[in-house]
Symmetry: C2
């Protein structure tokens, strides 16, 4: 869309980071309370007492707003995982185990606090795969770092650390994906500890 920049919007431009953040926060609250499907850009603008055109100056679509909301959420998860990667005094197996457990708990907690989160995540999955890909790549990169550390220490025996990291990540999707965690809480799934032990066996050298 074409936007005419007048002196007033030029002033607004200066406060862009703040306005952007307010739009993201308002959108997230609305996705949480009303759901992604039912939230419109007009609703978000109305809550912020601004015109939809002003929202469109920052985000060219609801999809773009969702990308920012999902991006903020996934960065929070990435920070959590990095903290475990850098915590002192853990073996590689413990680190990997704590990371997977943290991903699972974080997903459970978010799904509980935000029962419509899966709508937002499904929209991101179908419309914004770059955001999804970036998140998966970030987590897999940290897993890889830890697996490589485990190989150096003789804890693990893995030829392709990147592939092993991607396999571990894909193998725990049942425990860490909002759509599966929120929509099928009662479905049969082995305890996470058993799953982690099973995956670590696949990484370890001769038993």
């Amino acid at each position: 869309m074409t936007v005419t920049v007048d002196p007033i919007s030029a002033i607004a431009e200066e406060s862009a980071p703040t306005t952007r953040c307010r739009i993201i926060a308002t959108a997230e609250r609305s996705f949480r309370e009303i759901g992604y499907q039912k939230t419109t850009v007009a609703d978000i603008a109305k809550t912020l007492k601004m015109s939809p055109a002003n929202v469109y100056r920052f985000f060219d679509s609801k999809k773009a707003i969702n990308e920012a909301v999902v991006g903020r959420l996934t960065r929070e998860v990435e920070v959590l995982i990095l903290a475990i990667a850098e915590a002192p005094g853990l073996s590689a197996a413990d680190r990997l185990s704590e990371m997977i457990t943290a991903l699972h708990r974080d997903c459970l907690e978010r799904c509980e606090a935000f029962p419509r989160m899966h709508e937002m995540v499904e929209a991101a999955m179908t419309e914004s795969w770059v955001v999804c890909r970036h998140h998966v790549d970030s987590i897999v990169a940290v897993f890889e770092r830890i697996i490589a550390e485990g190989v150096r220490r003789g804890e693990f025996a893995v030829e392709d650390t990147r592939l092993a990291a991607a396999c571990v990540h894909a193998a725990v999707v049942r425990y860490c994906h909002p759509v599966l965690v929120s929509q099928c809480p009662e479905a049969p799934v082995p305890p996470l500890d058993a799953m982690i032990a099973f995956l670590l066996r696949g990484l370890m050298p001769a038993r």
Copy 2:
């Protein structure tokens, strides 16, 4: 609901299995073409040139119809997996590998032929977990049989075959679950062969 049985409906009762099957087939076609969300019991009845009340004589809700449709679909998948379990001359590792590959291919093909299948599956996941649980239990039982066979042959070294089977099943959900397969086709995921090799490593005795 209360149903008054008159002579005509008593005759209809005799053809119940056929009518039941026709309702299931019509519902499946409608879920496929229009989607689960938009299909109503009235639509199904109209296509079959019968009254909604007659449909309700066989199924007390759209949810019950969906359970029958999903049940038929999952039985087809179970038959496919059983055929691999019983094929002659395969090692346990080959059997498990072929089963996982078959589950993945079947899911891909169905999602392609039936782009709205995930709606139906998500409805089953949230409303009909007994159907989902039954399907997971059936597949895990076959996996367990093959893992136990592998342990007997010395191919695998696993203490709890049931738990190992459940872990393998949960670990491949990314490749075999219609919601993940259909909604995130572009997302990064390791090749299935690499994932199978990784999981088999976790089952095998000392390397």
